[in-house]
């Protein structure tokens, strides 16, 4: 948590439009020192539309900081200015959402977008959550799939060992087990998609 907004009444003019009296104050703690930005209601809500989450506010903050408190132009470019992102021409097969449209709104189109755009999303996800591996509740049918996967890994290991030891009888048994489990795995993966 770094940015806070608060209502207050002041005689300070909005630092963005400089036309209206500022009614919203944002405070950001930079290296332990609070810095304030005063905005009018309109500019504040334009910068922080509902649902655009905190990172937007963060960008807005940097933008204003650069503009206003902004040291001499050119000399000290804002530290967090992101490099222009390359255009990604990827579209979700299932819902038709182009990746570029996710960049404009914080929403994905459907659950399969996460597969399609995975490698482009993962850094955003890490930024938001700090981690990228789910820990916690798992729906029953996925729990089954995960168990099967784990047993498959185990069996494959055993199979390799058996082959190494030239124990072909055991290897054959293991191969059969792996086959049955793999079939189970693919059938349970399909069932939730119905």
């Amino acid at each position: 948590m770094e940015i806070k907004g608060a209502m207050f009444i002041s005689n300070v003019m909005c630092m963005k439009c400089n036309k209206t009296i500022a009614t919203v104050k944002f405070t950001k703690i930079i290296e332990g020192k609070p810095q304030e930005i005063h905005l009018c209601q309109e500019c504040a809500s334009a910068l922080s539309p509902y649902q655009k989450k905190m990172h937007n506010l963060e960008n807005a903050w940097n933008e204003i900081l650069a503009q206003l408190l902004g040291k001499e132009k050119g000399k000290e470019p804002p530290a967090e200015q992101e490099q222009p992102k390359e255009k990604i021409d990827l579209v979700c097969d299932n819902c038709g959402l182009p990746f570029e449209s996710y960049r404009k709104s914080p929403f994905l189109g459907c659950s399969l977008c996460y597969n399609t755009f995975h490698k482009y999303l993962i850094s955003d996800i890490r930024k938001i959550h700090g981690g990228t591996q789910h820990v916690g509740k798992v729906p029953g049918r996925y729990r089954k799939i995960m168990e099967i996967k784990r047993s498959l890994d185990h069996l494959r290991h055993e199979l390799q060992d058996a082959i190494k030891m030239e124990n072909y009888e055991r290897a054959a048994v293991l191969r059969d087990k792996i086959k049955t489990l793999s079939e189970q795995e693919s059938s349970s993966i399909e069932s939730p998609s119905r």
Binding site: M7, S105, F107, P139, P192
Partner: protein
């Protein structure tokens, strides 16, 4: 089920006693879930949205833990009623828009609500007075389990429950606690206290969630990250910080009262003066004054009132609540008069002929 009854019940949860109520107004937990393949509600077409409402509706009918819930289609109720439900925290601002195929199932005491086609297909929300996270989480978990074992839920081993916005991935869990912190505000310790929240990946919001103002010294603390931590750990991390803040607030109040800070006493009694005599009052002003009164209760003033009554009042004076109770048509001035009337009736000055 008549909408009337739901409005009647929507604030019942507020009248119940809860732990740490002198500081904690309410606890709220929500889980976000989606169905596989069907576009998220933000992108779905009308027939896809109605497909979701059908699938969820059929499942709910057969869920033991969701019996006796009332169903409202938000598209079919007046704007004021939707606003009312938002003010009571029963629905989200997204559902207040009242688009088609947006439903809400509420438990008989409105403590649990299941929103259908909010930004996610399903959002299960629990509300409780005071600091009441763990039992509330258990209650939601039971309902959630029944739903997700039957419905084709979008889930990935790596990212957990898949949600419309990546900010809700993983557990899909948001735990929020509404705190009343007049002591820390008075002592100018609030910024410092809120800084404490930062390393715990928690966020501070205003009374009505994202981007809302800190009206009436009310602050909402909630978890920021939902992926990478278990449900239990998320609840614990919020609890730990909230308990620290409660302690700080108690200390601040103690300090204010033991030093007999004249400015505080003056602020409390001035608030009382305005509440008991004003003829016109907007929501913002009333919230600020009620906050002082709530502090006064801790000081031992206002024997007829308690924290519960004040919590309820803070909701009752909201615009749509005023409109509904007074059956006035929309109009700020009349609403503000009605609000002042209501407050005068509660804070009647002895001997005055109000």
């Amino acid at each position: 089920m008549m909408v009337q009854n739901i409005l009647h019940e929507s604030d019942v949860w507020l009248s119940q006693k809860g732990p740490s109520q002198h500081v904690v107004v309410s606890s709220r937990i929500r889980l976000a879930r989606n169905l596989i393949r069907i576009p998220f509600s933000t992108h779905a077409k009308s027939d896809e949205l109605s497909h979701v409402t059908r699938l969820v509706g059929d499942t709910i009918q057969n869920c033991k833990s969701i019996q006796g819930f009332n169903l409202i289609s938000l598209h079919d109720i007046p704007t004021t009623v939707r606003k009312y439900l938002k003010e009571s925290h029963i629905i989200s601002p997204e559902l207040e828009k009242g688009d088609e195929h947006r439903l809400i199932y509420t438990s008989p005491n409105c403590r649990i609500s299941i929103m259908v086609n909010e930004e996610d297909h399903i959002r299960i929300q629990g509300l409780a007075p005071g600091l009441y996270l763990k039992p509330l989480m258990e209650e939601l978990d039971r309902i959630d389990t029944e739903l997700i074992e039957v419905l084709p839920i979008a889930f990935s081993e790596q990212l957990g429950f898949l949600t419309a916005c990546p900010t809700n991935l993983g557990t899909g869990l948001r735990v929020s606690v509404m705190l009343h912190l007049p002591g820390l505000v008075f002592c100018r310790l609030i910024e410092e206290t809120m800084k404490m929240v930062q390393p715990h990946c928690l966020t501070v919001r205003g009374f009505y969630g994202e981007d809302s103002d800190y009206t009436g010294d009310l602050f909402q603390i909630s978890n920021e990250a939902s992926l990478g931590k278990s449900e239990e750990d998320i609840v614990d991390s919020v609890l730990i910080v909230v308990e620290k803040i409660i302690k700080k607030e108690e200390e601040a109040r103690q300090k204010l009262f033991s030093e007999r800070d004249l400015a505080v006493e003056d602020a409390i009694w001035r608030s009382y003066g305005l509440l008991s005599h004003a003829r016109v009052m907007d929501t913002q002003e009333a919230m600020g004054l009620l906050s002082r009164i709530r502090l006064g209760i801790d000081r031992g003033y206002f024997k007829d009132l308690d924290h519960l009554r004040l919590n309820k009042l803070m909701i009752e004076i909201q615009p749509a609540h005023m409109e509904y109770k007074t059956s006035f048509k929309e109009g700020t001035e009349r609403r503000d008069t009605a609000r002042a009337d209501l407050l005068r009736s509660i804070f009647q000055a002895p001997g005055s002929n109000n």
